[in-house]
Symmetry: C2
Subunit: 251 residues, 2 copies
DNA sequence: AACCTTATTATACGATCGTCCAACAAGCAA
DNA sequence: TTGCTTGTTGGACGATCGTATAATAAGGTT
């Protein structure tokens, strides 16, 4: 419902508002916007309106990045007036936080779809999961701009909380796929962290400067890392992390 | 050349901000404000002034991130008036681009120092290079905030250019260390890309949400990746990237 | 001295930021 | 119809943004 009412510090500054002008120009010149697309200023179901604001925010973030995500451009994109945003969200920051969760879910679903399309073989599903980051819609400069905007706000607890949830879910899904491939329980967590980091780093640089390597090369490197992780399961010769006490020689 | 003048450059212009004294009536109220701690901003050598502005920008970026890096806070941090920034730089964007190069150099030097401290053994130097990212001054939230601010501006060619140069240099240094460890020439480029991506991803997540894993774990994972890369050099059984034709079975 | 160059300040300007608010409008209950 | 609730609008407000510019200060040259 309201979710508002801060009645904060600033007094209305005494003097009454300007009587303002009549809105006579409105309400008779246009019957209303037809369905579909923008310009819907009809009354909407609260959940529908909330979602349309979130989606508009995602589009603006993708197009203009963090600096462009301000109230008025988002309102224009959603086809509503600026004031409506503060009616549905406690502030622009809350709207962006909600958008983080929404975009995070979309990414998660895109990865799940890639896994589902890979069939039943555990190894193929794992490969599909990690290499999906190097193809559309994940490997996209606009998505990176969106993501960077979220990162730039992780100073605020509200956003950091969602970041942790999204990444925890990503690693959780990855751990499940790794377990299906026979990775030992004790290795699951760190293996998932390493693969996540590699994929994240490759995805980041692939979007930031696409000339330094190709998406195919990124796929190959991720695949190699998977092979290395899986070879440990078969008792092969694989490099082990040195024990903590052995690691002091390099300082 | 009184001695008081010399230290004013590095002075953050703390307290005595402007005693009201607005200069609306120029030249009659007060010719100068000589005494007191307010001696900031004498004339400086152009290069010195430029550098002090760059350093002030780096401090503001580290403290407040991308959204805080605007003309007036930077000017306050540098202890000069806002207008001076446009005297030395073509705009705020040019100042931030220059700061990107400067911070990139500092990071590069910090990594080089870690390598130099590791001694003469090639393997130890390589380890020092990659694990330095997980210790101060690299593994630092403020540095991440700075870096994210740069990333958020890579849409502008001026910044993207700097990003490419900085990352190319990072990979170049890494390739040299890998070559010293005997990595084959044909594998150098992709190996460096993979290690850079892993380190970047670990560094990013370590700074963003430090609770998901520890710096020691990050070091161990990077070390394991190095071991995997180096084991190939000895003709051991190491996972290979599958050929491009073999990768289409998952649809 | 007078003159010139330029570093530096302080402010002005228009644009845009987030938030708040009073008036309008749409739906629903009586 | 009349009333009531609430989604929605368009703008006001103060703060801050980047840039531009006239006035002043400082150093160097002749």
């Amino acid at each position: 419902m309201d979710t508002r009412r801060k009645k904060t510090l600033s007094q209305p500054a005494s003097g009454g508002q300007r009587p303002a002008l009549s809105r006579s120009s409105r309400g008779d010149d246009r019957p209303d916007a037809p369905a579909g697309g923008r310009g819907l200023s009809k009354r909407a179901e609260p959940d529908v309106r909330r979602q349309s604001l979130i989606e508009a925010t995602a589009r603006v973030l993708a197009r203009d990045g963090a600096t462009g995500a301000s109230v008025r451009p988002i309102a224009v994109e959603a086809g509503v007036s600026p004031g409506l945003i503060n009616h549905y969200f406690a502030g622009i920051e809350a709207l962006i936080a909600a958008t983080y969760s929404s975009v995070g879910d979309q990414v998660s679903h895109a990865l799940a779809a890639a896994v589902a399309a890979a069939g039943d073989d555990a190894r193929a599903r794992l490969t599909a999961y990690v290499t999906a980051s190097f193809a559309p819609p994940i490997a996209d400069r606009a998505l990176l701009a969106t993501w960077i905007a979220f990162w730039s706000l992780t100073g605020k607890p509200q956003i950091a909380e969602r970041h942790d949830a999204i990444y925890a879910r990503y690693r959780e899904d990855l751990e499940a796929l790794l377990a299906d491939c026979g990775i030992a329980q004790t290795e699951l967590r760190l293996t998932a962290i390493a693969i996540t980091a590699l994929v994240d780093g490759l995805w980041l640089e692939l979007c930031l400067s696409p000339d330094s390597f190709t998406a195919d090369e990124a796929r190959g490197l991720a695949e190699r890392q998977l092979g290395s992780a899986l070879s440990c399961r078969e008792g092969r010769d694989c490099p082990q992390e040195p024990a903590d006490e052995e690691r002091s020689a390099d300082a």
